[in-house]
Symmetry: C2
Subunit: 253 residues, 2 copies
DNA sequence: TGTACATCAGTGAACGCGCGTTCACTGATGTAC
DNA sequence: TGTACATCAGTGAACGCGCGTTCACTGATGTAC
């Protein structure tokens, strides 16, 4: 995290007391800018995010926001990082509230939290999982860390399922070993997997499950299937199918 | 289809001969506008699509394009309809080239064609399967028909698998019957399913397979998983997992 | 086949608007002594 | 604790730019007789 990101994050966490007027005000304004910008995201989309409009909403002159934000793109980056953190917080909280031995329950909690967050923050969701914003390249050094938090959670769950011998056989799921190894073998060198016994096929199952889950949420948030009679029930169905790819039923335990 | 859409479509299909200069020119300019607009989509995104920029690229004065296009939004609608048609053509062609009895092969052809088309036309793909364009509502009467073409193909494949008794058991896939019926039962009244024997669980399997497939393509086109060592191999893996949800292996035949 | 009139394509100017970013400035808050 | 100086927040004007859309117009193409 660079200074700005750390400050923004600290603004949520650290107690605001014991700070001078200036520092307190700065944090408040920083938070206001993000809040208002997030609101604009909802109505104008990322491409239409405008510093002038944000300033206007804050009753500030447009040049004023440059005391807080380097440029329009930097504001976008902050919104992205913030969205990743907010999503990861929501998902982690839901996941951690479940009995660690209830592997299926952990998957379900994670999936439901993802869906709930996405439906509550559709534009933040679009920002991180929708079409890339034209003329904008997210600086990897600022977004990657926040972006991998959810992935780390998935790896933990997968490893726990493995050591409990609850990961279903890949071959029974239509996942042949050869392409899985070609596709993902190299990825297992990532420090994220250090100390785990995850093999390429298992990782492929995890990726498939995550892809199905994310696809289900994307499809609902962007209404890709048109109007549905019962979207929550459809999600539960797809959630079950995705869970089935990584964790065997408890009865088989 | 309204007049404009029919004309645009006819421009591809009907022979251009036997037309007056005026009509020929109009078709050519119409096609030029769509072509150039598509190019702008690639660099500026849907939100940044500008009639003035399109006109400029065509060496025309900005007001000139209003002879061909009602408004910026209408141009967007045409691009969307065109994208759906182009995708459906590509997918149908690939699907129809496979032996009808090779159900797994048909699914794979369909999936691979979707992926290829998406990678070749990432911005058209984003237009129809990415974040919704802010301040723009696609008029259903113009986009729905084009948008359901791929779905119709999936329904045919699913029905063929059913009558060949090659649809796997839903319960073995983590798809319980109750939520599937709640979620999708009502949908089966759609004329699309008339004359088929598809039941809610099968439809749920089809939706799950499609969601996984589309999720895999979206994730690759938008690089949601970061850089991958071998994206085609990963796709093949996910394709296999998705196929497994709707068609049993040929050996089980 | 030739002419008179109607239709259409494309022009150029104008409308009112919003944008990102820079810059020199004033007045308030903080800090060192 | 009080004063002098340094830092910072926010202002207002300006820069050069692009946008969608309307309108009256000219000149070319098409059509009816």
């Amino acid at each position: 995290m660079d200074t700005a990101a750390r400050a923004a994050h600290a603004a949520h966490a650290a107690p605001a007391a014991k700070l001078g007027k200036r520092a307190r005000n700065r944090r408040a304004v920083e938070a206001d800018i993000l809040r208002v910008a997030r609101g604009h995201l909802a109505t104008s989309g990322a491409a239409g995010l405008s510093l002038r409009a944000v300033a206007r909403d804050l009753g500030m002159v447009s040049s004023g926001v440059y005391r807080y934000v380097e440029s329009r793109d930097e504001l976008l980056t902050r919104l992205i990082v913030d969205s990743y953190l907010s999503l990861a917080d929501a998902v982690r909280a839901a996941h951690d509230a479940v009995d660690p031995d209830d592997l299926g329950g952990r998957w379900d909690a994670l999936g439901r939290a993802l869906r709930t967050w996405a439906l509550e923050h559709p534009h933040d969701f679009a920002l991180i999982y929708g079409s890339p914003v034209p003329d904008y390249d997210a600086p990897a050094e600022r977004t990657t860390e926040a972006g991998t938090a959810v992935m780390a959670l998935l790896v933990t769950l997968l490893e726990d399922a493995r050591s409990a011998r609850r990961v279903p056989e890949a071959s029974g799921l239509g996942i042949p070993e050869a392409p899985a190894t070609a596709a993902l073998g190299a990825l297992l060198a990532d420090p994220m997997f250090a100390g785990t016994g995850i093999d390429p096929a298992m990782l492929a199952q995890g990726v498939a499950a995550w892809t199905l889950l994310l696809g289900a949420v994307t499809s609902e948030v962007f209404s890709q299937l048109g109007p549905l009679p019962d979207a929550p029930a459809l999600f539960e169905t797809l959630l079950g199918a995705s869970r089935h790819l990584v964790v065997t039923d408890a009865s088989a335990n």
